[in-house]
């Protein structure tokens, strides 16, 4: 990695100040995405702002009909949190399948959502549940937050502070892993809330997206059979040495079916 300056602020305000002062500064949370990039010299930040000392970014809280998860909360904590398991078991289950033990004990929800890797797990849950992303300046609806491969509505220097999830009536997640990286090859998060049904697809395309036809089918009939006949178009999906766009499109239907089945 290249040399950089290192800061460890203890408040969101200080972190934002440090980021504002240096356009080439980067925040770091669990480092599970940023550190490998630095080690490969794919990134050359002038300074690193370590968020791990900021208490405001930690903790999982139930606030009425919402579950609020601080940006620094690790995958392992979400997977094992009694609050999450009670409110959104599918979210806990999903977090427990991210990467491996080491990754889950370092990686954070804030880092994952801010990074918006098309093959990451969290974006599907955030979009599928219709969550709200809270930053140091504003609140952003999931539908507006994710803007395609590694791109989000976050502005330079803006910090993701928490994610607020509505508590669904039912939710489920299923994914097929990429055989090599074990990130998501095609995944589907389904949720039914009082506002309706949402279906979010990750892994298969260049970014997480909603599957409208499946949403309609499930709104009419919440059952695996309802989505089994809905075909995802391969147009615009990813194709690589691990599988064609057609294969991924097919997996979307299979995973949707399994996600609904797991939601019960």
């Amino acid at each position: 990695m290249y040399d950089f300056a290192y800061h460890k602020p203890s408040s969101v305000a200080d972190a934002v100040k440090l980021l504002a002062a240096d356009p080439d500064a980067r925040p770091i949370s669990g480092g599970q995405t940023l550190l490998p990039a630095l080690k490969h010299r794919l990134n050359k930040p002038s300074s690193i702002v370590d968020l791990s000392g900021i208490a405001e970014l930690k903790g999982i809280r139930r606030e009425g009909d919402r579950l609020v998860i601080g940006a620094l909360v690790k995958h392992h904590e979400v997977a094992n949190s009694p609050e999450v398991k009670a409110a959104i078991p599918a979210l806990a289950q999903m977090a427990g399948t991210i990467g491996d033990t080491q990754v889950r004990n370092r990686g954070t929800i804030g880092g994952s959502v801010a990074n918006n890797d098309p093959a990451a797990d969290y974006p599907a849950a955030v979009l599928g549940l219709g969550a709200t992303v809270v930053t140091d300046k504003r609140r952003i609806a999931a539908d507006d937050f994710f803007q395609g491969m590694f791109t989000t509505a976050l502005e330079p220097g803006e910090l993701l502070v928490a994610v607020e999830f509505p508590i669904p009536e039912k939710a489920g997640y299923a994914k097929m892993r990429n055989p090599a990286s074990r990130y998501v090859m095609a995944g589907v998060f389904v949720a039914r809330t009082k506002d309706g049904v949402r279906v979010a697809v990750n892994g298969a395309g260049p970014g997480v997206f909603r599957q409208a036809e499946m949403e309609q089918a499930l709104a009419a009939n919440w059952a695996p059979e309802a989505v089994a006949g809905v075909r995802q178009s391969p147009d615009g999906l990813n194709a690589d040495i691990h599988g064609s766009a057609e294969y991924r499109a097919h997996l979307v239907t299979v995973m949707a079916k399994r996600a609904v089945a797991s939601a019960g």
């Binding site: 490969h40 691990h242 097919h250």
Partner: protein, 794 residues
């Protein structure tokens, strides 16, 4: 009377002596070695598969902080290229094409990762920073990334002097006899298949530290090698022209090799040479990306085969035509792998009377390819065991029955094959029957039916194989083109109080020699295991050695130790006879006790050892003091482990995912010294075999860029991918080495891939699948299922 705990000798599953060191993080690997005043090397690597170097501008790089020196090919013209250790001859008798393999590129790069320049600096980061500042003016040339492209008319040449990119066109067997046998056949089964290219991925990346003492002119190279003496010989004699007494090569703890650390690599010569030039130690450690693009890859064959059968399913003749990818340069043993380690195995466990094999070795603009766990034998086994399954199906015969009908019977040993080898022992019916029983082969259809109720496609596959290892008789391999002898060396150093240090020319990089080889001493001399230490991996300590590969350590290295122990016992008996005032003929030795036959007059091991070093009362006229013996052992033949592997899989037809649900290995590895270590070796080999069959493959694009150049895209097997592997052994003893051992290091990787693919094909039989190329990935299987049978997602 017998002080030795018998459970530490041959046959005891004692725990590995080395594991405390490894499991507690206290191994000493090459990168752990730091020399005073050390500098760090970073190699600038070619980003192109094929390009001319029009110029290299070092000005900016030289001005970077910490830079000590930068060298390019222009600085290294005085030294030799990396040698190839095995010369193959063409069908017409002419020698193979052997283009130079420069240590640093000379005007042209031939694969992504080819070394262009080396920066030596005060820190690793400084070296890398400066390497990034080097400006190379490349003229990119069209590349040949596949053998098909390389052999095409008018293809670009990897080496200007090598016409048609053909390294050699070799054959074995009698073409006329073979052709005649085909004419009389009831049926001919034709079959094409690919053996996928693999990237070894040892846990420890390669590393090398060069050191030079200007006051003595002594060089030391610490390196991640499976065979330090071979590196000293190749690098000293062919590359740097350094005599052995001025060059010490140390291979300390090495974190896995699987073949990839046999070969002499450019970086070893670079750090040694640069240390001399700069009179400062130079360290280089590969990062994982460098390992992917510069460690020699494995396999990569494309084969067309024809099998002739009579009406009863007996094999009459086999004809095989194989293209073998050499990559851009000839790595040390690359040329032997698809010839003498592959085609000579094409009789397998069968009585096929005539085998004719033609092998073309091809240069491409890819990383060099060389021996990888099994080296040639997995390729032969995969071909044969797939072909036999296809033949069974096309003859309407049972897969097991066709094998039984063609087995070499146990009483036919020693058995001369039509492709040079003479197998010494084996019992294929025994290993087959045992495996069928353990795997519950006969009740499989019930399990298939049950899986179906869960929506899963279940299949079972079998492979009955044999391999040749314990390499090898020097005279034989010499006649076949090897430029080295393949004996092994062992020194038994008995200390005055009776403990023992063994110096062995083999090298342990995961195999557990420090335990297994010590067990040989315990068994023979009666010295407790705790009092036996094995020393390996240092040319300054060990007289000589050819190292560890080809499952040779026990069969060849262990046999050398037995010979040395024979000499120790002979001398010790003389000392005992003197002390016991008996004649030598009357003195018996049994694990620690010398006894005058038929009496209770004895001397202990300790007394004899002490006497050897404190020779007050000693037959000094007859023998010298001391108790240390060395033996060189040259094997009389290869050893021939074999056995039967059975794999059971379940496929999810919706995703194409293959779950290996059961794996049974019943192997004949000859006498078993430590059953626990054998089990571990077999399991590890099977893991690699499952990796090859289902997960791993090196993929190049048409420009010669490696697409699977990280673990994000290259699928290493993980614990969760692997089934419980049931390992059993059934020994027929090797008849020509003193221990009766055959070798267990590679059997797992050799026998398993066809068992896995046979199971996958069996699971998919309702789709009319004849073959599926490795790795059988979910996407590939999904394509097969959906090609002619649009399985609805519902």
């Amino acid at each position: 009377m017998n002080v030795v705990a018998p459970f530490e000798g041959i046959g005891a599953s004692v725990k590995r002596k080395e594991d405390l060191r490894f499991l507690s993080g206290r191994g000493q690997y090459t990168d752990d070695i730091d020399r005073p005043g050390q500098t760090y090397a970073c190699i600038l690597r070619s980003p192109h598969a094929h390009a001319l170097i029009r110029g290299i501008d070092l000005a900016a790089a030289k001005a970077m902080p910490g830079v000590v020196a930068i060298f390019t090919g222009a600085d290294m013209t005085g030294i030799g290229g990396l040698p190839c250790g095995w010369q193959i001859h063409n069908k017409d008798g002419s020698p193979m094409a052997e283009p130079p393999h420069p240590v640093l590129a000379q005007g042209k790069v031939r694969h992504v990762g080819d070394s262009v320049a080396v920066v030596i600096a005060g820190t690793r980061a400084q070296a890398r920073d400066a390497a990034e500042a080097i400006e190379v003016d490349y003229e990119v040339l069209p590349a040949v990334a596949t053998m098909e492209a390389a052999l095409g008319a008018g293809a670009p040449r990897v080496h200007d002097g090598v016409e048609g990119n053909l390294c050699y066109d070799w054959h074995i067997g009698d073409p006329a006899v073979n052709a005649a046998a085909f004419r009389g056949a009831h049926k001919v089964v034709e079959f094409d298949l690919v053996n996928n290219r693999l990237i070894p991925n040892a846990m420890e990346p390669r590393a090398a530290v060069g050191d030079y003492d200007p006051t003595t002119g002594d060089y030391t190279l610490y390196t991640t090698s499976q065979n330090p003496h071979v590196i000293r010989l190749l690098m000293g004699a062919f590359v740097l022209q350094l005599p052995e007494h001025k060059l010490r090569v140390v291979a300390p703890d090495v974190g896995g090799g699987f073949g990839s650390k046999i070969f002499h690599y450019a970086e070893e010569a670079i750090v040694t040479w640069a240390a001399g030039k700069l009179a400062r130690p130079v360290k280089w450690t590969a990062d994982r990306t460098e390992s992917f693009i510069t460690d020699a890859h494995g396999r990569d064959h494309v084969t067309k085969a024809r099998l002739a059968l009579d009406k009863d399913g007996r094999f009459l003749a086999l004809h095989v035509r194989t293209l073998a990818n050499m990559g851009a340069y000839l790595s040390t043993f690359s040329t032997s792998v698809p010839t003498y380690l592959y085609a000579t195995l094409l009789a397998g466990v069968y009585t096929t009377p005539t085998v004719y094999a033609e092998v073309k070795a091809v240069f491409t603009n890819t990383t060099p390819v060389d021996a990888y766990r099994g080296a040639g034998r997995p390729e032969a086994t995969f071909l044969l065991e797939r072909l036999v399954d296809v033949a069974a199906r096309e003859m309407g015969m049972d897969r097991v029955e066709i094998r039984r009908r063609n087995f070499i019977p146990a009483d036919a040993y020693p058995y001369q094959t039509p492709v040079a080898l003479q197998y010494d022992s084996g019992d294929h019916v025994a290993t087959l029957d045992e495996a069928l029983k353990v795997a519950q082969w006969d009740s499989f259809e019930a399990r298939r039916a049950e899986a179906k109720t869960r929506g899963k496609l279940r299949g079972i596959g079998i492979s009955t194989y044999l391999e040749a290892c314990g390499i090898a008789p020097s005279a034989v391999v010499g006649a076949l083109g090897a430029r080295a002898g393949l004996y092994e060396v062992g020194t038994i150093r008995v200390h005055p109080t009776g403990s023992v240090t063994v110096l062995t020319g083999t090298h342990s990089h995961g195999q557990g020699h420090e335990t297994t080889l010590a067990q040989l001493v315990t068994d023979r001399l009666g010295v407790p295991l705790a009092q036996v230490d094995i020393v390996h991996g240092d040319t300054a300590k060990i007289p000589f050695g050819m190292g560890t590969y080809g499952s040779r350590s026990l069969a060849v290295g262990g046999s050398a130790m037995v010979k040395a122990m024979d000499k120790i016992v002979a001398k010790a008996r003389k000392i005992a006879a003197h002390l016991l005032e008996a004649s030598v003929e009357d003195v018996e030795f049994d694990r620690g006790t010398f006894r005058v036959a038929g009496t209770d007059r004895t001397k202990s091991w300790g007394e004899i050892c002490l006497t050897a070093y404190v020779p007050h009362n000693y037959p000094i006229e007859e023998i010298e003091p001391g108790l240390e013996e060395t033996a060189f052992y040259d094997p009389k033949n290869f050893t021939y482990p074999g056995g039967c592997h059975i794999c059971e899989v379940e496929i999810d037809p919706e995703t194409g995912h293959v779950d290996v649900v059961n794996f049974t290995a019943v192997d004949d590895v000859g006498r078993v010294i430590n059953p626990m270590i054998v089990e571990g070796q077999v399991q590890g080999g099977v893991a690699q075999g499952i990796g090859q069959a289902l997960l791993e493959t090196a993929v190049y694009d048409e420009n010669g860029q490696l697409l699977s150049a990280s673990f994000m895209d290259y699928q290493m097997p993980r614990a969760g991918d692997l089934p419980p592997v049931s390992v059993a052994t059934h020994a027929t003893l090797c008849t020509h080495n003193p221990l009766g051992v055959k070798g267990c290091g590679e059997v797992g990787a050799i026998g398993s891939p066809p068992a896995v693919i046979n199971a996958v094909v069996d699971a998919l039989k309702e789709f009319g699948v004849r073959h599926i190329e490795m790795p059988a990935t979910p996407a590939k299987i999904w394509n097969i299922i959906h090609a002619d049978h649009k399985l609805a997602a519902e």
